[in-house]
């Protein structure tokens, strides 16, 4: 019974204290709900913005949109603020509404199990166990580092680390550095590392499309006017939002918009790279938008320096201090940096969550992740996912999606309370219908027809499982409000079996 005694009881368990978990918790607090905990595996809040401290880290969405509508910040330093500033914003988001006392740090989710008899979720962490009616996962999409299996990498004689676990104890001054990858993290890291490394080689499997970054610092006068006239911040937020939505016509593969976006990206490349061979090597071979479109003004120019080399094939193996590319070219290196992304198609949380009858979420998702309204999963009663399946955006701010889902989940909790419902579970047929709708929306988008392989799609089923294949506004219009018709309900008075 000692184990029983160590179980903490609460109403709601939120897993994760990044944008998703904090956004959910802020809304609970606002509604006067106080009986919840946030379980965080690390020792601070901030999610991806805590973990990614690599040089040059910044967000690709303007800060006045990439922030909570219910926690505007008048003094963002730049249009695209640096990562450290976003992390500090998230710390404020935990402090100001009084969320900190709810957070348990070092509390990695080891196992979450639905207990049929008590109709409660039992959650184990290194900090103890919790029991709650509701489980809300907010474990992030780009949270767990993906490391490719490279033969010989264990025997690499230099230092090696992932971009999301940057080892700041290692100086890159005068070192020969290899960066594996040319995605969103790599393009921010390369220009910074090029400043100090004696040699830099970038292993590029597939060239990204890159468009100009319309970044600038906000003046103190602008910041003060945002503070004095908050409605001017709202207007800017709306302007950025609708400009972002405009980009969806390109993802929807409208020919003129695909051409416009491609011309913009290739024009940017031509402006910055004059060597025709290098330009060819930096030119993508798929339809723009199929993979994430990146924004940078300083990535291409990095390659105009003599000590920076573009290797146009992937890293195949490592032998001692030598990194060998698929092309056969060999590079002697002191440091290897893996900017190889995250476990997006299969979130690790799926391997530790067990639903009705002990079914593991990862097993139920053996053909890729899926959820009703992108939020709830059959067999996993009273569980809601923030940034679950089909919530990613190829063109817009994830914070907007988080806010929509927080509203949905609040609606579910309020519905259950009002109607005396103890257990809400998504109906399989509702989930199936939702997936058909997602499939219909996906057709004719560049993600399916653009001729690329990317983590937006699940490699097992080839289905688009990560992205929401429509305008962001359509997600909020359709999934920003709870839909009780998609759930089976068990009344609180019904005796447990």
């Amino acid at each position: 019974m000692t184990k029983q005694q160590s179980i903490h009881d609460t109403s709601i368990i939120i897993v994760g204290a990044g944008f998703g978990g904090l956004g959910m918790a802020m809304r609970l607090k606002e509604k006067g709900v106080d009986d919840f905990v946030i379980l965080e595996r690390a020792d601070d809040v901030g999610g991806a913005w805590r973990d990614n401290t690599y040089p040059g880290v910044a967000c690709d969405v303007p800060s006045h949109l990439y922030s909570f509508s219910y926690m505007p910040k008048a003094d963002w330093s730049r249009v695209f603020s640096p990562g450290g500033e976003i992390w500090s914003y998230l710390r404020d988001c935990a402090k100001k509404p009084g969320l900190v006392p709810h957070i348990h740090f070092g509390a990695e989710l080891l196992k979450a199990e639905w207990d049929e008899a008590s109709r409660r979720w039992l959650v184990e962490t290194p900090q103890g166990a919790w029991r709650a009616q509701y489980l809300i996962t907010a474990t992030g999409v780009l949270a767990d580092a993906h490391l490719p299996k490279i033969p010989g990498v264990q025997g690499f004689t230099g230092d090696a680390f992932h971009s999301a676990c940057w080892d700041h104890s290692i100086s890159l001054e005068g070192k020969r550095v290899g960066i594996v990858g040319s995605g969103a993290s790599a393009i921010q890291i390369v220009p910074e590392v090029a400043k100090t490394a004696s040699e830099l080689v970038v292993f590029q499997r597939s060239a990204p499309y890159i468009v100009p970054r319309p970044d600038r610092a906000y003046s103190s006068a602008e910041k003060r006017s945002f503070e004095r006239l908050p409605e001017s911040m709202d207007a800017l937020r709306s302007e950025i939002f609708w400009m972002g939505e405009y980009m969806f016509a390109q993802r929807r593969a409208v020919p003129a918009f695909v051409a416009e976006a491609r011309d913009m990206a290739l024009g940017h490349l031509a402006d910055q790279i004059s060597d025709p061979e290098l330009r060819d090597n930096l030119t993508p071979n798929y339809v723009i938008g199929c993979k994430r479109v990146l924004i940078a003004n300083n990535y291409y120019p990095a390659f105009n320096q003599d000590h920076v080399t573009l290797e146009t094939s992937a890293l195949e193996k490592v032998d001692g201090s030598t990194a060998i590319a698929v092309s056969g070219k060999e590079y002697d290196l002191d440091v290897l940096i893996f900017a190889t992304g995250f476990e997006a198609p299969e979130p690790p949380v799926a391997h530790v969550v067990y639903g009705r009858g002990g079914v593991k979420l990862a097993d139920q998702w053996d053909q890729g992740m899926q959820a009703y309204d992108s939020t709830a999963v059959p067999n996993f009663p009273n569980m809601f996912m923030v940034l679950g399946p089909n919530t990613g955006l190829g063109h817009h701010s994830m914070v907007y999606m988080i806010e929509a889902q927080a509203d949905y989940i609040l609606g579910a909790l309020e519905h259950a309370k009002k109607h005396g419902v103890e257990v809400l579970e998504a109906k399989p047929e509702a989930e199936a219908e939702y997936l058909l709708d997602i499939e219909k929306r996906s057709k004719g988008t560049v993600w399916l027809d653009g001729g690329c392989k990317f983590w937006y799609r699940d490699p097992r089923s080839d289905r688009l499982t990560v992205l929401w294949p429509d305008f962001a506004y359509a997600f909020r219009d359709e999934n920003g409000t709870f839909h009780p018709e998609g759930y089976s309900e068990t009344a609180a008075s019904t005796a447990a079996e």
Binding site: E239, F248, P255, Y400, F471, Y473
Partner: protein
Amino acid sequence: MKDTDTMMPPLATGVVTRQIEVNGVRVTYHEAGQSNTSCPPIVMVHGSSGTTRGHFGFLFPMLAVRHRVISVDLANPVTGDDPLELEHLEAQVLAVIANAVPDQEITLLGYSLGAAIAGFTAARHPKIVCNLVLLAGWMKTDMQQLLFNRVWHELRALKSPKLDDFTVYGAFGAPFLSSKTFEDLAGGAAMPLDDFVDKQMELNSRIDIVDLVPDITATTLIIACSYDMMVPVHHSRALFGTIENARYAELASGHAVVFERPAEALRLIDLFAANPQEYPAGATLPVVRP
């Protein structure tokens, strides 16, 4: 179809472009989207100096994702000094409807001068137009518009190189322009000019459908643009007051809403076309606050 058109990417995936003859003039229209949806097809009418490609380059293909959409490219129906009248343009719209979607009720959408044409048509053909969208529209030209119109005609007569600047100044909202450079505006913003445009601008100076608008029975959505200097918001508000079965929305945009805020306009039109009765007559639609 002009040669320049054939060089351009298609307007939408699966678009079909046809031509018909209306009172001796060839009129082009474009069709795209699914025909098996439950809501009526949308027929679109562009504004002054526009075409489907010029004004509806975003709205046409994106509406076609969920609706059957037909868009008219208005053609010059008059020769010499004969004045252009709304009846001429209404005839082209009706002919396209009769060809593309005969014996069906439709949702008619007009932008700017196209909204005056759409309102005119809806009032006179209530059996055809069951739903109506008036985007930056008006029913009677007033002094503020006349002043703009007179300066426009003067610059045009002088062949002034500043005509483009004047048009851009009027077309785009001040907040939108505040962050732009001349380089940003180069190319895209200039208004194509020809006799037909002159005739449309002349027609714009004497729009008066005040007596007809009360006859509109269609379920109507009026979309106004807060920073519109060509058709300021009070015109949309007057339409809202006049049309019995109307609901109203206002976007933070200039008159060139199809370039400044096309996605926000799309959302309103898409939702209205799918469910025109979602909001009752007299309702002001909530603004999305991202």
